[in-house]
Symmetry: none
Subunit: 147 residues, 2 copies
DNA sequence: CTCCTTATTGCAATATATTGCAATAAGGAG
DNA sequence: CTCCTTATTGCAATATATTGCAATAAGGAG
């Protein structure tokens, strides 16, 4: 893949190495349309390399995040989720209980975020905006447990 | 404490109970000026009740967050931190570089968040909304470093 | 290609956080 | 106050994420 070659060059220039595992994690992330958990990514990587290890997945994800290639979302109880950058750049809602994410498509919301950032002088990346909440399913569970 | 009594009433109305442990956790959080980790809060609670358990601290913190009394900040690799709400329940901008926070006062933004949540069926706690970005100072630093 | 340096991996140990479930206790009813 | 329902607790087990370190392999030098 040409994109891997370009990336490899960029990494080398900074003293990093493009390894088989990093390629596999990147490939796996391209397959997911929604932010994925480390476990999901591991599962996908295992299809190509059964020896893949969760430790390496976590380290690779943290590395790629620092390198600016992916974004990480954390919310409450849910596991962290990772998403490949460069897509639509839409903000998301994330359930702090089960980790389910939903894209926020409303232009009004995007404008409000941009405006809030501008007003306070902050440079905000819309794609990294994650609003924590409780998804419909988890709201029902909570109500049920209470009764 | 009168504030505990008021809170107790509010909880009862929703079918929850004001317990010794919840009181202790709330008291502990009032002592911290900066967001505290669960371990720090446990340590503080243990001063009053050596039998306190980290499980209960976590559950209480999550409960209080859902109740809107405290906010939880998940910051990348670091442990989550919890902070007592000033009562306003405003969303914040947070600098991903230096951690500086700024309150988002605009009603338009709050409405947009509420609307995005409602449209997707999510129950969103406005006080736990944190928008990551780069504060003005860090934007200047970044420009300087780049050259 | 072979040799060499050292970034990266994979395992095991550890840290951080949540869940299942029996025991406890909050608080309403009498 | 006593009785009763059930929310909450505390323990143990489990899930999620990171760290230490020896083994491996990326990739530059010859």
């Amino acid at each position: 893949m040409s994109c891997h070659k370009l990336l490899q060059t960029a990494m080398r220039e900074r003293g990093f190495r493009m390894t088989r595992q990093r390629r596999l994690v990147l490939d796996a992330m391209h397959k997911f349309r929604h932010p994925a958990t480390a476990a999901e990514i591991l599962h996908s990587v295992c299809a190509s390399d059964p020896r893949a290890d969760i430790t390496t997945v976590y380290r690779t994800l943290n590395f790629l995040e620092g390198f600016g290639l992916i974004s990480a979302y954390g919310a409450g109880n849910a596991s962290r989720r990772f998403e490949h950058n460069g897509g639509d750049g839409s903000p998301h809602l994330i359930c702090r209980q089960c980790g389910k994410t939903s894209e926020i498509a409303q232009t009004g919301f995007k404008n409000a975020v941009a405006n809030a950032g501008r007003t306070n002088g902050y440079d905000v990346q819309l794609s990294s905006v994650v609003i924590p909440g409780l998804c419909p399913a988890c709201q029902r569970k909570r109500t049920k447990n209470k009764s």
